[in-house]
Symmetry: C2
Subunit: 208 residues, 2 copies
């Protein structure tokens, strides 16, 4: 039997992706589940639904609630949290660099550092200078790394990744895929990990 | 100090309201929290956001996911589940009768029975005959009860209740209000109960 594994689909601009990214390592290690980090862009997916920004901006009641909810979740988990300004932030460069790093050895650490910069330190990850700083802190030479991250192959990979997200039926972030099942939201991380381990314990799909 | 209490805002057409309604009694009793059942209509709230039906119908990827997720949640909880047809169902009559019953002694039992009719037995609660059947099973005389539920005072109460939901910032169901904090979704029931008990343990609001 293959070792249990879980796909973790996330978007750097997404508040609940931050929470999941900070939790997933320890939880997955405890359950011996391998995590495949999958950055993607929500922009094209929202656009396909007719939205030109985050639904948290389009629907103010939902947005007000989200800010308070994330704050409460972070307090319960002991995670620092600052409301990003602007929101949502441009995650294109961070996602490309992440994709490069995840093909090498420094991707997960880079992802966590970008999330911390944005949601704990209040930095704007849409600014190249912030990505440069994070790379420096990881002892990665910023200029050659950014040049590689903006090569045609990485650009195409990120586009393909976002298209795969759409094919999988993703409509928000974070999402998890385990044993062919899709789970949406930080709240479903534990259930997704159980599914990765147990697979067949999930109920059969209804015919509908 | 007042006994801890929680407002449970629900909509009879809502799948996750069903799950919460089936769980809340035992959980709240264990934590010695009093639950105030608050039926309301999502229709006017959705309409104010520019939606003329459930977002699960408007956004197909979200809808497909929801059906699978509810099915998984119900399996984990040992709850029966059948996908209602049509969806969403007209909950106006059920909500009015519930409001009447919650002012008397039979409201909670009526609410659970309506949810079971819709989501466990596959009945259409928009049909008066189904409401009549549920009332009969509770030993309530259907005709006088329906007549009272359709009196001007109950009609006005349900409108007022839905307006209060909007003022509280509700945008979906189920929602919970405890100690001035709003919680959205069946997933937040446990946290809302903790908040009802502990109140001040919630983090202070960010200034924003």
């Amino acid at each position: 039997m293959a070792a249990p594994s879980l796909q973790f689909w996330f978007e750097f601009a997404s508040t609940y992706s931050y929470v999941a990214a900070m939790r997933i390592g320890a939880l997955a290690a405890k359950e011996s589940v391998t995590v495949e980090w999958r950055p993607f862009l929500l922009g094209p997916i929202f656009k396909a639904q007719g939205w030109d920004t985050s639904p948290f901006n389009l629907y103010p009641a939902k947005g007000r609630y989200m800010w308070r909810d994330v704050e409460r979740q972070c307090t319960e988990l002991g995670l620092p949290f600052r409301r990003p300004d602007p929101f949502p932030q441009s995650s294109l460069m961070a996602s490309r660099v992440a994709l490069l790093g995840l093909g090498e050895s420094w991707g997960e650490e880079f992802c966590r550092a970008m999330f911390r910069a944005e949601f704990a330190d209040g930095r704007n990850i849409g600014e190249p200078a912030v990505v440069v700083e994070v790379l420096r802190a990881l002892d990665m030479a910023p200029e050659p790394t950014l040049a590689r991250a903006q090569g045609d192959d990485i650009k195409a990979s990120l586009r393909a990744q976002t298209e795969e997200a759409q094919r999988l039926g993703l409509f928000g972030a974070p999402s998890f895929v385990a044993d062919g099942e899709l789970f949406w939201g930080n709240d479903r991380l534990e259930q997704a990990l159980r599914c990765a381990q147990l697979g067949s314990s999930m109920p059969a799909r209804m015919s509908s």
